[in-house]
Symmetry: C2
Subunit: 150 residues, 2 copies
């Protein structure tokens, strides 16, 4: 994420901390910094591996807790994907995903046309829709290569 956007997100984070009486700790800032720089929807453990170099002594537990805190504060989101470890997304605004059915990787994609999608009626289910994501399911570049090699 470019520096300007990042600064803006940090300002938002600090503002919400003040509003909600949430302490703005070294650990939280470091975790946020890393997730904003990531472009791969990292798992908690992947974030932990990077952050431990910058904040010596930080625990895995704190990373788990911090990521959930940031989600509750609406500073980052969770990514929906097949697979068994929770993954986080620095993007909160609308965008979509390419989901590889072979390696479960999730790649961001922007599409003005998809953003304009009409939201169907969900009153029958009594479900309130906030926003949406489109998952385009298929096979990624790397997995295509591997297929050929076989």
């Amino acid at each position: 994420m470019d520096e300007k956007k990042k600064k803006h997100r940090f300002d938002l984070f600090e503002e919400r901390c003040r509003q909600q009486g949430i302490p703005c700790t070294v650990q939280r800032r470091a975790v946020l910094d890393i997730i904003l720089d990531s472009d791969h929807h990292p798992t908690t453990d992947q974030v932990f591996d990077v952050v431990r170099d910058r904040v010596p002594g930080i625990s895995r537990t704190t990373v788990y807790r911090t990521l959930e805190t940031l989600v509750r504060m609406d500073i980052i989101t969770k990514t929906c994907h097949p697979g068994s470890a929770v993954r986080y997304d620095p993007r909160v605004e609308i965008h979509h995903h390419l989901v590889c059915l072979y390696c479960d990787d999730v790649i961001d994609i922007d599409s003005e046309q998809l953003n304009l999608l009409p939201v169907p009626d969900t009153s029958k289910e009594e479900f309130d829709v906030f926003d949406f994501r489109v998952q385009l399911r298929g096979i990624c570049r790397n997995c295509k290569k591997k297929e050929v090699e076989r």
Copy 2:
């Protein structure tokens, strides 16, 4: 799932077993039967809890392996969702999901309009799209009730 559709899916399963030289065992039939009857995108463990009553002695490991086998055979699919246990979906044809951001529940929804969505160009990413799902993210009926109670 109604009996006619179910029979059809079992026929497909047996046909693919023959084609691919995959033995059609008691365990696999039982697991498939249960997932086809489910309407809640069950986890492996939830499938195990039901199947153990019908096939005494079946192991959790077998259920894990069987569900992955059925996915590879394209008889069932994995569900994309936030949250940390893999969940399976008896539906392979196009449909969409309501995803509750509070309890991570996934509810099926059909929409002709969503099915007609234009697939954007993904040649830049060298990604081949097979199909797609729309995730409508928001809050479900149950979680709305809980919000009010607080």
